[in-house]
Amino acid sequence: MERVVERVAVTGAEAVANAMRQIEPDVVAAYPITPQTPIVEYFARFVADGVVRTEMIPVESEHSAMSAVVGAAAAGARAMTATSANGLALMHEIVYIAASYRLPIVMPVVNRALSGPINIHCDHSDAMAERDSGWIQLFAETNQEAYDFTILAVRLAEHEDVRLPVMVNLDGFILSHGVEPVEFYPDELVKKFVGELKPMYPLLDTEHPVTWGPLDLYDYYFEHKRQQIEAMENVKKVFPEIAKEFEETFGRKYWFVEPYRMEDAEHVMVALGSTNSTIKYVVDELREEGYKVGSLKIWMFRPFPKEQLQELLNGRKSVVVLDRAVSFGAEAPLYEAVKSALYEVAARPMLGSYVYGLGGRDIKPEHIRKAFEDAINGNLIADEQRYLGLRE
């Protein structure tokens, strides 16, 4: 099939909604919440216009949205929803259930600060509150990545060795409402790539009656958790295969992480999401000034790409980790994961933890430069949490 791409300027929300149109799930249940609202708004228009045959269920809350897609997925449908912040928090109970029932649901999460005090702007506190829920978590830097990951996530979630739900994280407003050029692939090509869902134990198969959600006590609950651990482990094997097929089909290469100017880099910055674009800009500036710096974008946060980080960061002089979330009374989530991954490497780098951008606070090139300068000057303390853009 010929690959004719359509290059258009769209918001991240429109890019994700367009991926959903091409996937054409059987069921979408959703509740509006800023800044996710435009995704389901665009999608509801596709439904109303008869562009897709999806059964759209406008529910009374996010708890119901996730419950409805769990029911639909157990019935054997390809089901999706989307949410943000407090909506995700309201889903929390069913988020765990979706993962433990091994339902391949794909959910774009437009990252926004959790209340309170109430705030509608970007940080990663919503996604981090779900990091132990058993969902695969992908983070997009650009609208293109948000579009691509939504398509790719369907295959990853539904793979027979995985069967886990996937959150596609995109930064609230910065991506969801920010306009960028995105290359849309032809509908037929996307439909061919995602293929048909092969449901597992579908409730609608009345010839083979099954029970979903029975009580699972001390005799088997532990074994079911062990299976979930194995499925996450399998993602590490399955994801590169699907990413390779994605590259062959659409021409874009994805992996667990994206190294940027890392070849001879002595100082490396690690971050999630859209801030990586600003980091790359600063890396280019510092490179021009002769500093050996690079950056490492985390595309996949769960499962955490520990082996890749060990390989890429072993022997560097220093590693600076930027977190757009905190863990009160402990280290910030991404920093904690990176620090833990590097415990056993032969040549451990110096480490620095920087929290930035909470509640949508701007992260500027000068902030990133400051963190890099700390690294270059050997001014890092592994057990000290520092802040970028905070009034002291």
């Binding site: 029932y101 091994r102 597992m200 134990y201 083979h208 099954v210 959600g213 005799d219 299976q227 499925a231």
Partner: protein, 98 residues
Amino acid sequence: SLKSWKEIPIGGVIDKPGTAREYKTGAWRVMRPILHKEKCIDCMFCWLYCPDQAIIQEGGIMKGFNYDYCKGCGLCANVCPKQAIEMRPETEFLSEEG
């Protein structure tokens, strides 16, 4: 016997119907009903009240208890007009069942 995590369906799904039959809820029992047949008048109150249908009767004759499903609630002993059912602690029967 209990299976390993590699041998069971994922997601906690029970992949065939009717498996409740294999689940012996009698294992929950703390107090065991014992029938003193010499006092029993076969009035069938116990059979009528038992919430687990664990009273065994044949042709209107009270024959005893289905211990696979009797949870030891003691309703039968309570409604018996002749005190023909005695509730005894399960610990008394541990040794004889190994």
